[in-house]
Symmetry: C2
Subunit: 482 residues, 2 copies
């Protein structure tokens, strides 16, 4: 405890009043993940204002063997930014580092500090008639550092890839307090291992991202947002291929929504209604975009593709949003599924992916299997069909009590879903990461060779285990390696 | 030697006659890089036929502590696939593993073994009306394994990225003989560190790539290949921006050729002539492509863009190739620069990159500086302006003798060029990799933090130094770290 006192005094001295706090009221909100599933304790919260301060603070932590939990907007889905209950770690908030350091229109590049909020980045790009091609529900709180560290996905991955695809350069503080600076983007650079790739998606376990250079694209000309009613997920898969063939690069997103989820949203949201008449087993939400200056053809293209799809019998009904307000309304339906499904009652949620071409088969096969094996449950899949990534929720039998069910049958269901997705060659975490919520499952189901490599890399870059302990990398005893 | 004999006997036993040879005549061509700059020795050459054979052979080598030099088409530029002179290593050719395991048209994915030759991959894709969007001069010998291991570039990077961007999944044998299999491509997969990214570009020092799943794109509709005469590299830079703004995704490549290089090619190639009339200080070679089914507009687009450029005064003359034969002729001029410049006399060649926006300034500033500092030399820059990557050759003063000049003044020139490019925040190896040719320079000029991380990762994944020793990763004593 003497040692802790010394550390705390040095931290306060180093970072000043704004930079280090033990004030319970200030820290409290950041000790729990936003979903309220994980709660931890911390010695204090550091909020450095510069990369140099992060580096100095990390060296201080290293000297005192104080583990660090880096945190951005605290809007992660896997508890990756929540400290454990020991109270021996320190929270490291990057939120104060929220400066856009530079934006180069010609090059289409922006250098942001880790604390820049996604929504602010979107606005900064729009002001310059550019856009940052990644978005997700938590854009009002998610930060660049968190997005990079979790290799975030979202609804534009089909066309533009995950966060990894947007990162041109990184700045990160390593476990020994050294600063890796690869911010200057070089389109071609073969000077050895691409170290930024090791850090992207490593959830703060290998280094602390302090800034990133990201690519920006020209603003779009126009978008057409389409809502479709269909008979089956197989038809949605056919429609996806149909759009990929005929719309090519204009296809920006392709999401699927089952009848159950749409009904839940309509119950949940005031004024919400289905964009299409009648009942359909499945719905698809499709977005097409055109380049700036090429606005005329997009509506005609959308109508042509939909007309052909109707002739092929792979959709029942389709509506193209008449204006931006309606387009936003369509997307609001999609974005409200998760909260609407949660409002119904307890459910186990799985963020899974398989090959794009096999996702429809997978859902069609495993949904009835699960409902049969666990009577009274209801399996609901929705989301990013175009990425082979659905959010697969299994709703508890009616009358189940949340916490209790989740820890008994719920747990069994999740293991079963993860077993199945692994058998199908898929991923138990498509976009939400591992954090603390899936570390044991990764240890149980991960490829032993991959797990061994991950442990070796973790050991090499953070030999004293100071960076985000208890996250992502399964311990050897959790693994299936002998 | 007893031990070596035992190893050789076991290797022969394991791989059979086709799989392991000590026949000098067979091995000889593979002991020298194709440019003839490096020559090594080897205990023998293994040519396993399957991933399982590679894995078993690696375990055999590990047991006997025999270092392995993996080799594909032996067309690398940096000696990365040539063994050292000790004769204690074994060559591991992946050329026999040349099967295309699967090709999925709908998904746009092909799984190739490491030994598949790039040209064969192009042809397999074309047969299915798809294309693999990476090409380079050595396509007739370069293999998929080598392309992945060196993160190869080429002339389509501007639009499609380097090899890293094409790799959806990998299979690799690690130093302990375990097999990492990430071949099944998942568009979204956040199960921890992206291990394939660590292997891409690691030049066989961390693992041996045995297969890769690569992305394929739809075939193009049409291409327009344009040759332009200009007054300056700054005008070429302006023209690049002009094309990027107006042609967007249709812009596939943008190469620059100085008058000196064009003259060298015309001297070197029978029947070659300049596509444009008159004398111009610089030339640009530009390729536009259209999607299949959208062929009509491309010619009009090219003419419109060139017309506006002429009005802006950023070009003197331009010719659009009238047909495919002429288009090929234009590209032949570009691809003949390296051999034509070599035919003139000794030169130091530098494969360098800086930010795309600074490349013209860089060349304009350093070329006269070098010619002044080393009287009689001539600096020539050509290549991928659109990627911020030029091949920067410094020709010896006339009368210099190749080998002698290269080892005295030539060496001094290269150090100086590398110093300058490092000062400008650029890369001393844009696309050719480090291999053995630039390892010392990387140790001298590399960021100490990056070098330390590279050494840690190398140590973690290949603790006994069995994989491609002496390549890429600078030894600690070569580094600038204390």
């Amino acid at each position: 405890m003497d040692n802790a006192d010394l550390f705390l005094a040095e931290a306060a001295d180093l970072l000043g009043e704004r930079g280090f706090t033990r004030d319970r009221e200030i820290i409290e909100p950041w000790l729990t993940d936003w979903r309220g599933r994980f709660k931890g304790e911390a010695l204090g919260m550091a909020s450095p204002a510069s990369t140099e301060e992060v580096a100095t603070f990390v060296r201080l932590c290293a000297r005192h063997s104080v583990p660090i939990v880096p945190q951005g907007g605290n809007s992660g889905m896997s508890g990756g930014a929540t400290p454990d209950a020991s109270g021996t770690t320190v929270l490291l908030s990057l939120r104060r580092m929220n400066r856009i350091r530079s934006l180069d229109n010609d090059a289409g590049e922006v250098t942001c500090e880790a604390g820049v909020i996604l929504q602010d980045l979107h606005e900064a790009a729009e002001e310059r008639r550019l856009r940052f091609p990644l978005t997700l529900g938590g854009k009002g709180s998610a930060t660049v550092g968190g997005l990079v560290s979790t290799n975030a996905g979202g609804t534009q991955v089909l066309r533009h890839g995950t966060m990894r695809n947007q990162v041109l350069g990184l700045e990160a503080v390593m476990a020994d307090g050294s600063v890796l600076d690869t911010l200057t983007p070089l389109k071609k650079d073969n000077r050895g291992f691409d170290l930024k790739q090791v850090l992207i998606g490593s959830e703060g376990t290998l280094g602390i991202v302090t800034a990133a250079t990201l690519r920006l694209l020209p603003e779009i000309g126009e978008r057409k947002v389409i809502w479709v009613g269909q008979n089956s997920l197989q038809d949605a898969r056919r429609l996806l291929l149909h759009f990929q063939n005929l719309a090519g690069d204009s296809l920006e997103g392709f999401e699927v929504i089952p009848a159950h989820s749409l009904a839940a949203v309509i119950d949940h949201l005031p004024y919400a209604r289905s964009p299409v008449e009648g009942k359909h087993a499945w719905h698809a939400l499709i977005e097409l975009t055109s380049k700036a200056g090429e606005t005329e053809a997009l509506g005609a293209l959308a109508e042509e593709i939909l007309g052909k799809a109707l002739d092929l019998g792979i959709l029942n009904d389709a509506v193209i949003a008449a204006n931006e307000t309606q387009a936003e309304d369509f997307w609001l339906l999609r974005e409200s599924i998760a909260p609407a499904e949660r409002a119904i009652g307890p459910a186990m949620q799985h963020d899974i992916s398989v090959s794009v071409s096999r996702m429809a088969d997978f859902v069609d096969e495993i949904s009835p299997t699960i409902e049969k094996r666990f009577p009274g449950t209801k399996a609901v899949a929705f989301g990013h069909l175009g990425d082979g990534n659905v959010h697969f929720h299994v709703l508890a039998p009616s009358g189940s009590t949340g916490g209790e069910w989740e820890h008994t049958q719920g747990k069994e269901i999740s293991s079963y879903v993860h077993d199945l997705v692994t058998e199908w060659g898929g991923s138990i975490s498509a976009e939400h990461g591992i954090g603390q919520i899936k570390r044991t499952e990764l240890g149980r189901l991960g490829d032993p060779v991959a797990l061994a490599l991950m442990r070796s890399i973790k050991q090499a870059l953070d030999p004293n285990g100071l960076l985000n302990p208890g996250k992502l990398v399964p311990l050897a005893q959790e693994g299936s390696t002998p």
